[in-house]
Subunit: 622 residues, 2 copies
Amino acid sequence: MEGPAAPTPSALAALRPLPLDAVRLDPGGLLGGWQERNASATLPHCLDQLTAYGNLANLRRVTGDSDEKFAGMWFADTDVYKTLEATAWEIGRSGGSTEWMADIAALLEKAQDADGYLNSYYQVDHRDEQWSDLGFSHEMYTAGHLIQAAVAAARAAGSPQLVTVARRFADLLVRKFGPDGADVIDGHPEVETALVELYRLTGHEPYLALAQRFLTLRGHGLLGEGRFGPRYWQDHAPLLDTDEATGHAVRQVYLLAGAVDVAVETHSAELLAAVERIWESALAGKTYLTGGMGSRHKDEGFGDNYELPPDRAYAETCAAIGSFQLAWRLLLATGKARYADEMERALYNGIAGSTARDGRSFFYSNPLQLRTGHDGSHEDTPSQRLTWYSCACCPPNLARLMASLQAYAATGFENGLQLHLYAAGTVTAGGFRLGVRTSYPWDERIDITVEEAGKGPFTLALRVPAWCREARLTVNGSLVRAGAQEGYLRITRTWKAGDVVTLVLAMPPRLVTAHPRVDAVRGSAALTRGPVVYCLEHADLAADGSFEDWELDASSPLSVAEHELAPAIRAEFRRRPDTSGPLYQPLADATPGSESVTAPAIPYFLWANRAPGPMRVWIPLT
Amino acid sequence: MEGPAAPTPSALAALRPLPLDAVRLDPGGLLGGWQERNASATLPHCLDQLTAYGNLANLRRVTGDSDEKFAGMWFADTDVYKTLEATAWEIGRSGGSTEWMADIAALLEKAQDADGYLNSYYQVDHRDEQWSDLGFSHEMYTAGHLIQAAVAAARAAGSPQLVTVARRFADLLVRKFGPDGADVIDGHPEVETALVELYRLTGHEPYLALAQRFLTLRGHGLLGEGRFGPRYWQDHAPLLDTDEATGHAVRQVYLLAGAVDVAVETHSAELLAAVERIWESALAGKTYLTGGMGSRHKDEGFGDNYELPPDRAYAETCAAIGSFQLAWRLLLATGKARYADEMERALYNGIAGSTARDGRSFFYSNPLQLRTGHDGSHEDTPSQRLTWYSCACCPPNLARLMASLQAYAATGFENGLQLHLYAAGTVTAGGFRLGVRTSYPWDERIDITVEEAGKGPFTLALRVPAWCREARLTVNGSLVRAGAQEGYLRITRTWKAGDVVTLVLAMPPRLVTAHPRVDAVRGSAALTRGPVVYCLEHADLAADGSFEDWELDASSPLSVAEHELAPAIRAEFRRRPDTSGPLYQPLADATPGSESVTAPAIPYFLWANRAPGPMRVWIPLT
């Protein structure tokens, strides 16, 4: 039973994913808890919304079973497909009924055209427009999500029917746009990674070849100028000639994920290097502290290097998810801990923050600051999570990630195992069963008990995150003097049941600063602890309070404190007493001043779970 | 011969505009030079573009004289109307041919429907959709610009034909949407101020009543949610209940301009106070140092208080123009120097910067920073001015302002005269002719010679801008010990020809800082001199240079220096030597450092006249 992104045995790979059921996360831990919430709240919520918002009726219009008008975005089918994918992973994780999946698969089969075409927007009202506006039609993007749902269903839920539908569509794509077809690409990448996954599932090489063909065709201006110029959809230059992440952030990370998949399956070290280079550029100058990506609302785009406004961070939930999925692929391909670090950062901040504690409302964009009097009109940076969006790409995307989250925690190799994400649970691989006990990321200690031991020497590799300055490892209570190599502490030995490995990753509260070119947060610092970014939130102030005029003294002590939501960081701030001054004044006239105030900062990902109101990650320094 | 915004004799007014021909600006001065450039370059350029971009053909489709497809935005007629208005003011200023105006007036007369309707988008392809989408159709906005062109033609160019066309349309509006008609408003304000101006021209009260009615209807949600919520088009609350500038910046300032016009003509002190209050809110928290307004690209909107990113400043040219026109109306209504200060700030920075030195290319948005490697894809913050835009509202808006600029320099009252904008030229009023000699804003000295003197005591009021800390006034060489009262130095005496008044407004280079809540420019300062904001521009560096890593020592001396473009400010900066660090790091690891470098800052409004490249107004402080 394979999980998301399952390279073939011959693929370039430094690490191999474990089977989908190799890791089980305890529901009492943070990550396992998220999976439970996803199953009990988010996924049912998504199913309800597909009915309430007409996505399913859209498909029933095609089969003549609905008289409703087409509802929602022209790519509304993708919400169905991502929910299908999430359902499949959830069945793989926890069992449960396949009834809904089967119903939808039957509906899709009935709705599909004889030639394999399937798209409820273009099959009823807009037949004449099929394939006519590939820049924005999202037709192949939609096909891609259908394919990914089918792959998940086949891998995790034993449903072959969806694969039949998906293959019919994929075969149509091969006929129309393969080597004998038109030279076109889709404005929104996604079908590339889907086609490689379908190739991995079926062994049918034309799918891989088509994905490769789309990558080769991209970057030559086939999509034209569009509304935002060719950089928007990464069609300004071939990936191999590119060294900068540009344009629409989700498109960019989805494209790179597909490129890694093609690179490892076609053994293209050059393409893999290009992806690493472009990705590195995003991390070096275009990524929020939360792992979020996308600095501009207008085109949902990356923007310039060092253009990282916290208030107008777009940081779309889907970009963080895509970034996580890309990092996972790069981790498998290269084995570099750097990519697991990025997965962790995105997961605990940019991704986790998008879902409410009850699992039923979501952020689409994930700003790092909301001001007092925030004008969060409409869906553009609301001050609270919304239960759904007119473009509802994010909620079901969260659902499919969370339903398969355990697949990303560990990898295997011959006689060894890497732990990348620390969470309470069980890992079963290579004849070993490991029990992991930890309250990470709230606690720095991770206890790993060998519950069953395989034979012979076996290497356990434990990731030491880059944020950690002091990692301490003991085996059965004895300190192991192993320095982390390339981000992992490795212990090779012959294990026996009952052995206990304890890793302590020191996580003092810490002030983090940004590169001096990041103008938007100059003179400010952020509070972090371990992988978690913290923020100030209005709800921790007295009713008439505000932290608009607070400053942080970098030398004042930080401490961990209890809080209703999660362990908080307690810090001392200084308040500017007089803020009645003009908007601009001669520098010489500016008068600083301060009075002391103490307050907790909470994990960023838990903000906006109380009353709506201001929040900020970056705090001005005195 | 009246100019733009001519209150009736019975209107509330602290100051009265002078006749359009009372002020003549010397072409050798900065403002007069802009007027000459406008006449010789910008206006002919606009005329050419109206043909090249199909705006005139659009109107000829209506009369059956063109087979072309409709071209451009659905409100493309407004480009014609604003160019007409500019042409009318220019004829009033410098004479010249009325032939083009007459041709277009004849075309409009022929194109107009029998009932008065005129809109080339809705008269051919979209007849069924007339008045059906007032939130975005811009039909009344378009009517408003037609009316303003007609008013200008009547006042400045003696053309009654346009007035006939405009009145027919205005009469249609009165019939359809007056007290007996539908309760509707237009999503884009503009018709309000136009209707009041038409009332002023014709004395026909239903025009004033309709403008008042539109203001009263606004703020009750008639326009619905739209794409951005009701705050976008200021329909969330009545003006009288509002105390904050919100939403689309151009709509907001145009609405407020119309509200002042209605307030002064209907003697509504309450409405005037509401406008002043809302306007004050914009100046207190939502205005760029350049006088630009609009912090968000997505909805071209104001954004939150203190949300003023220099790099993503939208600061649309039309918002600065609208802001200038609004400030003028408030100045006339209240006599407060504050409003003339705002006119000056917008004029020398936000407005002036939008036009290239050759008068033939323009910025639409006016950022205060472009980074190295700026992703100015498409029309969204290009790194150079463009010759035209798909939405070309700004260039002809500049043309109509510049063609009438002299009208804003001075005002009159019984036995007195105020000078608000200082520029070389001549002012003739109340039996007086004053010759003004100055190189302002490059030089702090303004010499005013009484060339002809009227009879009896006469008061000359000279504005002392708020940025000026030391104003020195002499009459015929003798120091006058008059303190500025409410922003004006007033001298009352019986004048004789040959009297010379000299005003010296000390304008040392100065560092300006922003309110500490303006997160985006924290720890930075801007260089200013007099009313002019300065910036660093790449073209003043060696070929491989960059100021991305420069910091300014607030204590280092600033000096005025010669420069190819205009007097520059010379300052010493410190360069951070090592900028290879990570995007985020523990605060404790950050290492400052510096080496010294000296460079000139140029007036912001002259940037982007050399090669494309980086620019910044706000400079980090050491």
